[in-house]
Amino acid sequence: MNRLTQKLDKLRKENKKALVAYLVAGDPDMDSTLEIMHLFVKSGVDIIEVGVPFTDPIAEGPIIQRAHDRAIRKKVSLEDIFTLIEKFRSKDDETPLVLMGYLNSFIFYKNLIIENKNNSVDSILVVDIPGELKIKDYGIENENINTISLISPTTKVERIESIANNSSGFIYYVTLRGVTGSSNLNSEEIIKNIDTIKKYAKVPTLAGFGIKSEEDAKLLSKHSDGVIIGSSIVKMIEDNSKTKEFAKIGDYLVSMKKAIT
């Protein structure tokens, strides 16, 4: 079974919430990315989302945009990311890995996804494909890789149903109207919408976008199956990209894990 499905099943049985951590591959360089991925796991992260750098990341706020820019200056491609993941897998064959990026990158490198050497990637999240379309329609097909769909506060109920039917990994509930790293969480709306999604979804529903503090994480994890942390981590990577001392990220994630436990 796919590592992601396995992990989510296990968490569900143990009545635990998932902690998902995001970074952009190659920010500030590939060695650091590998080091931080292992640090994530050591600090209690259940699932890692590896951002695939793209020149035009329209859903990202300034923090993650800058990370994409830094990685692109290093000429990081999806091909390099598969090499990175191979290195990661030589030490960690358990942690589910999700590739998160934009459709153009996946179409361009579809052969890598189709091949998915040693099944090292577990899931793909394409930010700019509508939930009712399937990436296999674009020739990106691999039965061992599942797909994660986004549902947002503006998604109508009829579409929630069809998107929920289409998701095979988890449903990523976008907690706000805005780009990654914004800060206008409306907890009442979030809770109502997650409850609606859960009526239709066969897979777990996780919440992300704009989750920064332990309080945010605590509140959202009560209603969802887990939380996704992106911009706060990427900001810490940015702040420490010269010294390459990333231990603080570990401390932050330990406290976030505690908050959702």
């Binding site: 109508k156 579409r159 976008v174 914004s182």
Partner: protein, 401 residues
């Protein structure tokens, strides 16, 4: 708004394999709402009446189809006709689309208008219609373009809109579009995004085409009236492709008329330093649509090069990609150097200073006119006037004010 000359896009917004709605989920509802509103209004009598009234009284339509006598003499064959979109209020074809879209925004009760702009013409056209209705207006513009189109930046500000200079990426039109999309994702409930070309996610390429098709509709009537035949060719520049699409669309089923789009060849298509995705690109996804796209060897969107800010865009409207593949339209490229030469020539021959974008279409006449005999009627779509480009051209010519 055009009477239907093709069944495209299909109900999912595709022109063949091109187009679609490749956007973050947050925008899907807004796009559906827009599509529904547009479909309900486009054949509504009152809506159409208001649209054509505004075009007539505020924009000054119809724009003339003008016989370019000295240019025709220069080539010594055929007859060259100019569709004078440069005479529109605000100086370019862009106003046709913004007049239509602001009516949609008003109907939808949106209070805030956003737009991206490259050369600044769409920014001016948007700020103009927003001012007319007293709506808050924000224009996103690449930092590079803010410098090279400073005149239009000031015009936009005079019209009461805010200009947001975009520093990310290549700091040009594509980055302005990214930033406008991010604004829309954030303020989707009360904001209407007026996209300025036949690009972006469905239904925009269709809506912009339909509103701007007034150009081609007039051309059909004017051709009958002035030379009693359909033209042998229509030549138009293509960046995102709205002026070309507006001129081409009503002619899609008029097979005797060749449709020729001229892209920005920059330093020359062979150098790779250009903005000509239909000549030298591969299908890819940018700004919500699958279309020909300039990409590097790693699937990243390439930075483009063109003397003309309005053509400096790595993508192109999806319907143009379809017209290219189907063979109905031809797409060529013209270098900066040739466009600049045409800019001067047309100014001197015709007393019309064309926009640098339009100069690309004129430059292609050098090649095209050799293919026609004296009976041929060739239309150049003069998409805009060149006042905005005076600083750019003067600088290239080494002139200081």
């Amino acid at each position: 708004m055009s009477s239907k000359t093709s069944n495209l896009p299909d109900q999912n917004g595709f022109y063949g394999k091109y187009g679609g709605k490749f956007v973050p989920e947050t925008l899907m509802y807004a796009l559906e709402q827009l599509e529904e509103t547009y479909n309900n209004l486009k054949d509504n009598k009152d809506f159409r009446k208001q649209f054509y009234k505004d075009l007539s009284e505020f924009v000054g339509r119809p724009s003339p189809l003008y016989f370019a006598e000295r240019l025709t003499q220069h080539y010594g064959t055929g007859s060259i006709w100019l569709k004078r979109e440069d005479l529109n209020h605000t100086g370019a074809h862009k106003i046709n689309n913004t007049i239509g879209q602001i009516l949609l925004a008003k109907h939808m009760g949106k209070k805030r208008i956003i737009a991206e702009t490259g050369a600044g013409q769409h920014g001016v056209a948007t700020a103009t219609v927003a001012a007319r209705l007293g709506l808050e207006c924000h224009i996103y513009m690449g930092a590079e373009d803010v410098i090279r189109q400073s005149l239009n930046v000031y015009r936009i500000k005079l019209l009461g809109a805010q200009v947001h200079s975009v520093d990310s990426g290549s700091a040009t039109l594509k980055d302005a579009l990214n930033e406008a999309l991010r604004d829309w994702v954030t303020n989707v409930d009360d904001t209407y995004y007026i996209i300025g070309s036949v690009t972006g996610p469905h239904p925009y390429p269709m809506i912009v085409r339909d509103f701007n098709s007034v150009v081609g509709e007039e051309l059909i009537e004017q051709s009958k009236e002035l030379f009693n035949a359909m033209p042998d060719a229509i030549v138009a520049c293509v960046g995102g492709g709205s002026n070309a699409m507006g001129a081409f669309y009503p002619f899609i089923n008029i097979n005797q008329t060749r449709l020729i789009g001229v892209e920005a060849g920059g330093e020359g298509v062979e150098t790779g330093e250009h903005a000509a995705p239909l000549n030298d690109g591969e299908p890819g996804v940018l700004h919500g649509a699958l279309s020909y796209l300039m990409q590097d060897e790693k699937g990243q969107v390439k930075e483009t090069k063109s003397v003309s800010a309005g053509l400096d865009y790595p993508g192109v409207g999806p319907e143009h990609s379809w017209l290219k593949d189907s063979g109905r339209a031809e797409y060529v490229a013209v270098s900066d150097q040739d466009a600049l030469r045409a800019f001067h020539e047309v100014s001197e021959f015709e007393g019309i200073i064309p926009a640098l974008e339009t100069a690309h279409a004129f430059a292609y006449l050098d090649t095209l006119m050799k293919e026609f005999d004296s009976k041929a009627n060739i239309i150049v779509n003069v998409s805009g006037r060149g006042d905005k480009d005076i600083n750019t051209v003067a600088k290239i010519d080494g002139i200081k004010f």
